[in-house]
Amino acid sequence: MTRTQTRLAVRHRLAERGVDRQLWLLVPGLACVLALFVYPFAYGIGLSFQPAEGGVFGAYRAFFADAYQRDTIATTLSLSLPAAILNVAASVPIAYRMRGRFRGKRLLTTVLVVPITLGTVLTAEGLLNYLGPAGWFNRLLFFVDEPIRLTNNYWGVFFSLVITGFPFAFLLILSYLSGIDPTLERAAATLGAGRRQRFQRITLPLLAPGLATTFCLTFVLAFSVFPSAVLVGDPAGTTRVISIAAYHAAYEVYDYSLGSAIAVVMGVVELLVVAIVLGLRSLLYTGSTGGKG
């Protein structure tokens, strides 16, 4: 009797803090993430500290001491940051105009979202065909003497990042935007705010946290660019991104320790950017965007 009572008491105390049997539902998911993500990730970190030579930090030293390797960080950032910024920045005005109901909205949304289905290879092939020196794009620009070079360099990869990243950004921003109570803008209108002011002072600040999240997700997508950097890029030069370096180390030189170290560096750089953005986000207003605040 007393046993059951203490058990009951413990259960109540836990329940008061929100811990009860329902939390078991989390277990399968957590188990998967721990076993399939956290453990391998830790394993990879461990591996990165066991290089064949150079001591515990040898692999990292090897990476950072070599300008050719080190520069991949800047190369990747110079590709992924502008691409992510462009994707987010371009999505905002389009999504803003696509709120509310109008005929053909579904069609337009579908069309804008189609690039999700393209896949790296088709995008790469398409870009090479279409933007290539004898592709349709350069044919249309017949009045320019030299064909414009848009593939096998920075721009090819950049375009492929835009094509694959934009639909995600657009979809997310469209839904964040739809979550903002339209009455707020009406309220601003009755207070004398014109179109631009309504957007700048009301919609944009409320959207900003969503923009930050979207930016992070598209940035991640762009930062991990790998196939298209090889296929439409210039993998030895302007688009030698960090994942190529990781792949090269692990699968061409068979230096797994260096490969893991580069992967870790990659994760750290990325988390750094994400942390900065999310840190800025936490300064912004986040919360319900309903009329009652």
Partner: protein, 277 residues
Amino acid sequence: MSRRIVASPTSWLIWGAVAFFLINLAGVIASVVVNSFGERWFDTWLPSGWTTQWYATAWTEFGLLNVMVVTLEVAVLVVGISVLVGVPASYVLARRSFPGRRLVYLLFLLPILMPPITYGIPLATVLYKYGFAGHLTGVVLANLVPSIPFVILTMTPFIEQIDPAIERAARMCGAKTWQIFARILAPLLVPGILAASILVLVRTVGMFELTFLTAGPDSQTLVVALYYSMSAAGIRAQQSVDAMAVLYTASMLVLLVIALRFVNPTQLVARVKEDPD
């Protein structure tokens, strides 16, 4: 405010930019489609002849039937498992507050926030070490890593939209937890589950890195086959690679269009409140 599409200079600019993007996108896609049907295409506007032989070549050369079957198996397993595992977890995250909730949420978000290649290499090593990689199991396990979090991310707002009183009402009617899941929540979540499933499906079918790193001889998916066809040693007709890419995109497109029929794209992250006029 009104439904008029006001032709202000900014909207011209924006719609112009959209049109420019779409036209070029169409060019990109069409150039691949045209090439996949072309006999020979050198320095001209269009190929010199038309043929469907590249599709036949691609089909046999890459053993596409087998690849398609594997792709489907992987996709169905990944979707099924990630829904079964992800939905209960997102239920708890949506409904409950408990110590460490934020930590758990962050843990679920991390795999989406990290580039696959950062954990893909160690993951593949670990999976090989335990003998999972190199066949279907490994591919499925690797693809679960981003899929489960993705289901959680998309389902949480969906579940938050459902009035918790409904579950309590079912409980008061005498329903047990599993009955509530089966009879009340599942039917209400169908659109969300469908949406999440199809998005996960699209992502899984398109997930190159993880599948590439863990696939074995009998467990290549379409993207991996496609990537090999482009980058592995040997000479292949460009057109048959394009044909394969077209097949891939066509199947993904069908999935996406189905998905968009079931779910309003704006419902992904937030509860929709459409402008009343």
